[in-house]
């Protein structure tokens, strides 16, 4: 049987990119695909429990109108809610990159409850199947 796991590496910590990643996770979960999410660098930083709801800004190309649109979008449905919905409807795991944890001085207790654990890169690839998407 082919491995239809959707593997998603979240690197960027801006609200637009986290939201886009969350939408992809929800879609894959809805379509019955296992979802394997790995948090690195600024995406991991955004998953700190006390920082999830702060304004994480947007990608540089957003411009003022784009930034406003994302702020409104987050007020309606925040990206963390989408990740929680994905976990609720499907087989979705979210793991933090051990190297990024160390780099940023983050401990497991600092992370939002949606994060399942801390993995090394090899562990992520053990579950990654044929490919991975990087945002």
């Amino acid at each position: 049987m082919p491995d239809d796991t959707f593997s998603l590496i979240l690197f960027s910590g801006t609200d637009d990119k986290l939201h886009a990643g969350a939408v992809m996770a929800v879609g894959a979960a809805a379509m019955g695909r296992p979802v394997n999410i790995f948090l690195q660098y600024w995406a991991l930083d955004a998953f700190r429990d006390d920082r999830v709801h702060k304004d994480h800004g947007v990608a540089p190309e957003a411009g003022d109108d784009g930034a406003r649109a994302v702020i409104d979008q987050q007020a309606t449905t925040h990206w963390i809610e989408l990740f929680e919905q994905a976990k609720d409807i499907g087989e979705v795991t979210i793991n933090a990159c051990a190297e990024s944890m160390e780099l940023l001085g983050i401990t497991p207790e600092d992370l939002h409850p949606a994060v399942d654990g801390v993995w090394g890169v090899a562990r992520f690839f053990m579950e990654a199947g044929d490919g991975a998407t990087f945002i």
Partner: protein
């Protein structure tokens, strides 16, 4: 032509993708086999996503009716 009795109507107009689909999934999960759901959605993505999900989840898409500024989807829970 509305010959099927709607068990539950979900007005998801104004919700952004994937909101309407998530509302449908949530409703179907808590419902009974044979229930019929109506989803009203103004999200363009719903036009492809609701039929795709219904097929994948093996439910039955009874109707897709374009209305003014939104679409009406009627789905029967099969399993």
């Amino acid at each position: 032509m509305a010959t099927t009795e709607i068990t539950r109507s979900i007005d998801a107009r104004g919700m952004a993708c994937p909101g309407p689909l998530m509302a449908l999934i949530g409703a179907i999960r808590t419902g009974q086999v044979g229930d019929v759901y109506e989803v009203l959605s103004s999200d363009e993505g719903s036009k492809t996503d609701i039929p795709a999900w219904v097929a994948k989840a093996q439910h039955e898409l009874l109707e897709v009716v374009p209305e003014d500024g939104f679409a009406r989807f009627v789905i029967r829970k099969v399993r």
